[in-house]
């Protein structure tokens, strides 16, 4: 091995080493932090809403005119929907998970408005919601039809029962776990009993800090607009979306059907910013890595062309092709080593700055060493071609060229 001479020769070309290693350091900093951000974003995007998303869609019915009776229409619609072949279940709701809009309430375990409240998303719905949303009831029981109350959305809301998510139950009653069933909390100074706990159901706001705290409430609004959430058998969704929209629009002249959308579309729209940010970051990473590899290749080719006679002389003095190849691989390894060492410091500093500026979680420790190894590997791959060509230089160069 020629570690000593390579290092001493490099130390005579400090400027070139510094420039390329700074480029490597910069690439590593951006790459590692961007990968971390992408990973964090995709972790957020991968959280389940709790619903059977591929087989669920929704639409709204808005009535008009004096003749229109919202409660009757809704009852008829739901009966029709639930009896449509291919539909598993349907439920009225005021809000759609992941959609970005909905209602929330502040909950307290004691009837004292001065105490801090626990926020929770509220889905005003009926006893079919657990089945329609494909939720897993892990304690307590579902609502029954007799639990339902009806009122205008403009009145002061009044409900006595709720099915809460496990996350919400644990937030309200940290000690109790599933035993929170049967307990009551207060909202708007009125007691509400927890009748059931579901494993999970996300609030409508994906970026909310209380996204896992949600509850179902057996209350339905008598307003002119009703939204129905519909779950179908696998593979039936697209067909039923078309058919149901047509049927509902045709069977009642006093209303219009709007807002037909699948939950998958809703998810795509809500996370569009996140996914396009991930795409942009990915493009940035690929571009930077490409430019840096080109820089490494360029520097290697330049260095090799400049030293053709030196390489020929080394061959004349007895270097094997492998020894020439190894020389340039090692040279790149040391330059990359300087680069990733500076890069490690920059990466960590940058990630600390990011997490304190944007309230992001701090980067896991293993990102930096993996980034270092990756950039060294990229450098070695980049320099492999030029080094192999250097190894092909003929020893006769030593005597033939001046």
């Amino acid at each position: 091995m020629e570690i000593g001479p390579i290092l001493r020769a490099l130390s005579r070309n400090k400027l070139g080493v510094i420039l390329i290693s700074l480029q490597i350091a910069f690439t590593m900093t951006v790459m590692v932090n961007a990968v971390f951000i992408i990973n964090e974003r995709s972790k957020l995007m991968a959280r389940p809403s709790g619903l059977d998303e591929p087989n669920t869609f929704y639409l709204s019915s808005t009535g008009f005119g004096d003749q229109f009776n919202s409660q009757v229409t809704e009852r008829d619609d739901l009966e029709l929907l639930r009896n449509t072949p291919g539909v598993i279940d349907a439920t009225p709701t005021n809000a759609i998970p992941i959609s970005g809009s909905g209602s929330s309430d502040g909950l307290r375990i004691e009837n004292d408005p001065t105490l801090p409240a626990t926020p929770a998303a509220v889905y005003f719905t009926d006893e079919h919601s657990v089945n329609t949303m494909n939720l897993t009831l892990i304690a307590g029981e579902n609502f029954s039809a007799s639990d339902m109350t009806y009122q205008s959305s403009n009145e002061r809301r009044y409900y006595r029962k709720a099915i809460v998510t496990l996350a919400l139950a644990e937030k309200l009653f940290p000690e109790e776990g599933l035993a929170a069933v049967g307990k009551s909390f207060y909202r708007d100074q009125a007691p509400v009993q927890i009748v059931g706990i579901v494993e999970r159901l996300q609030a409508p706001w994906p970026n909310s800090f209380f996204v896992e705290q949600a509850m179902l409430v057996p209350l339905n609004f008598t307003d002119a607009t009703s939204t129905y959430l519909i779950r179908t058998e696998p593979g039936q969704r697209d067909r039923l979306m078309v058919e149901i929209e047509e049927t509902l629009a045709g069977n009642n002249p006093d209303r219009i059907i709007r807002g037909l959308k699948s939950l998958q579309e809703t998810r795509e729209e809500s996370y569009r910013l996140d996914s396009s940010m991930a795409t942009i970051l990915l493009v940035v990473i690929v571009t930077l890595v490409f430019i840096t590899s080109m820089g490494i290749v360029g520097l290697a080719v330049f260095g090799i062309n400049r030293r053709r006679k030196q390489i020929g002389t080394r061959r004349a003095l007895g270097a094997t092709q492998l020894q020439i190849l190894r020389y340039f691989m090692l040279e790149n390894f040391f330059v990359s080593g300087v680069g990733v060492s500076i890069g490690a410091v920059l990466t960590i500093a940058f990630s600390i700055a990011l997490s304190s500026l944007f309230e992001m979680p701090t980067m896991d420790w293993y990102y930096t060493p993996i980034g270092m190894l990756l950039l060294i590997a990229i450098g070695q791959i980049a320099v492999l071609g030029p080094s192999a060509r250097a190894a092909q230089i003929q020893p006769a160069i030593a005597t033939r060229s001046i």
Partner: protein, 233 residues
């Protein structure tokens, strides 16, 4: 020790075929000092490159130290160069980024020698060319004659079977050249075989044996008597 029989070297490019060596037969024995002369383009460097395993010959037989090298692969040729041959070039061919010690160390590292032995040998070689005190200097800090001395030390440090020199004094003024020649003669006196290409007729006349090449063939192969050589000096 070096035995060529009917060696032929043809360079093929897209358009032309150049026959650089033809029916070239030559034997060089242990301890000889052979000079090679001839007009430019006659094939001197080609001969040296083939003798030094820098280039392969097209046909004929070449025995190096009794071994037929015609069929050897690149790796084996590199190992033979490293162990049996020392090269001295017209333009010295030192590594500009390495100090003198590291320059002379290069062939020993390729041999995979242990660091302690390398150090001992390099120091001795530096000392033998009178440049021990400057071992931390880089070539650019040395005169041409000194650089060629370093190159000679590098060629000798591996204790090769023979030295091949292509116009070693071609880039030096006549006084410096004399010094380098004296050093080479000293090396030859202590037993190392030397084959040297030169344009300098007087140097050729001084040597024990002169080979004159014309158009890739040996035109004259003279064993000069010691007296004649001495008289010429």
């Amino acid at each position: 020790m070096l035995e060529m029989k009917n060696v032929r070297k043809v360079f093929r490019t897209d358009m032309v075929e150049t026959c650089a060596l033809d029916e070239f037969s030559l034997t060089v024995d242990q301890g000889e000092f052979v000079t090679i002369t001839g007009p430019s383009g006659c094939g001197k460097t080609t001969f040296l490159n083939i003798a030094g395993l820098l280039e392969t010959h097209t046909s004929g037989q070449y025995l190096l130290d009794g071994v037929d090298v015609s069929q050897l692969r690149d790796y084996a040729r590199a190992k033979l160069r490293n162990q049996k041959i020392g090269f001295i070039f017209q333009s010295f061919n030192l590594m500009p980024d390495l100090n003198l010690f590291d320059n002379i160390d290069v062939p020993l590292r390729y041999r995979g020698m242990k660091s302690a032995e390398r150090k001992e040998r390099v120091d001795k070689a530096l000392d033998s060319v009178g440049l021990f005190a400057r071992k931390k200097h880089v070539p650019a800090q040395l005169s041409g004659g000194q650089q060629q001395r370093v190159a000679i030390a590098r060629a000798l440090v591996g204790e090769p079977l023979f030295l091949l020199a292509d116009e070693p004094t071609g880039n030096l003024d006549s006084n410096t050249a004399k010094g380098v020649m004296a050093l080479l003669e000293e090396i030859n006196d202590s037993g190392t075989t030397i084959i040297m290409v030169t344009h300098d007729q007087s140097l050729a006349e001084q040597s024990k044996r002169n080979i004159h090449i014309l158009d890739g063939r040996i035109s004259n192969n003279t064993e000069q008597t010691q007296q004649k050589a001495a008289a010429a000096a």
